[in-house]
Symmetry: C2
Subunit: 199 residues, 2 copies
């Protein structure tokens, strides 16, 4: 038997790209855009990370590309999954998933807010509440669009729209909770700045 010469395990970004390519052949530029909305909200990357990763995936034979020549646009490389790539994606989906470590500077600041003045902190919390409220509104709008476009397909597990649906749901829940926490914090902080008149 042949020794397992090179296992080549893609990075998580690699699997993200495979997941996007499973929905249709795309160029590196398309993938860069795709990793913004809405999946990219839970796994993003810049083009400088994507192009080298595509090269590695191709070297590992999980994807392949062909050049599409364009006249009024630069030529582009359109990538597609190979059968190995499709299998690798399925394997990854079935493998155990690590619980992500969170890194949130705002919560870190909240831990030390007693060391600062409440008035400015309250304003910061209001601002962040607004940001998350905006994200929430965007996701809800997208979910409405999705429902209009895909209809009952968003509930069909073998439809690619189900994935979008799942991500949007997660985004909506996440943003709603974050917004509520920010507003709760702001309320706490403003309650005290009323008491303290001279700041």
């Amino acid at each position: 038997m042949v020794e397992p010469s090179k296992p080549f395990v893609p990075s998580t970004l690699g699997y993200a790209l495979l997941g996007l390519l499973a929905r249709g052949a795309q160029s590196g530029y398309d993938l860069t855009q795709g990793l913004k909305n809405p999946v990219g909200y839970f796994w993003s990357a810049g083009h400088s990370q994507i192009y080298p990763e595509l090269a590695r995936l191709e070297a590992g034979r999980l994807i392949h590309h062909h050049v599409v020549e364009q006249t009024e646009r630069p030529d582009k490389k359109v990538y597609a999954l190979t059968s190995e790539g499709s299998a690798a994606l399925t394997d990854w989906l079935g493998a155990p998933t690590a619980v992500p470590r969170k890194r949130d500077e705002l919560v870190l600041k909240a831990y030390s807010l007693w060391h600062s003045n409440p008035a400015g902190a309250a304003q910061m919390m209001r601002e962040h509440a607004a940001v998350h409220a905006a994200h929430l509104a965007e996701f809800e709008t997208r979910l409405t669009w999705l429902t209009d476009e895909a209809g009952s397909a968003i509930w069909q597990l073998d439809s690619k729209w189900f994935g979008v649906h799942a991500v949007l749901r997660r985004g909506i829940g996440y943003e709603r909770e974050y917004r509520d926490w920010c507003e709760w914090m702001a309320g706490c902080l403003e309650g005290s700045s009323e008491a303290k008149t001279g700041e």
Copy 2:
């Protein structure tokens, strides 16, 4: 040669350490433990990252240390904030905070789940739901402890307990939402009819 002395801006981890030291002088080992519960749930680091960062903070004169000799334990360096360190912490608290980018492999997998078999995925979602339910229970227990110990101080903004309270609240909301999403996903994947009633 005499450039107007580099300002030395600490990393976010540096500020996390300053925030911990603002609550009392501690050794690097203590800080390593402190960055686990409960603040560390939103900003963690290993000791291999902490010791060099402490050295940098000290070089920047934001902290200083003195050696405490111990007989039945190894000697230790106990670090404390300087006045510059305290000021740097306050400045950081008042400065704008970036909205964190999320990286969540489970949500990424959800996006591609249509490419896999639902049965295994449902089990994975149940497992993650259990993990987040356990985190939730732990945070709720800690909040109960905190209420018993600190009493009304958890509501006083100038008390360091308020920071713990704030972080625990965020943790509770986050874990509850994540658990609910996992269970909703599992319900969808298992094909139960009650899953479709949500929203």
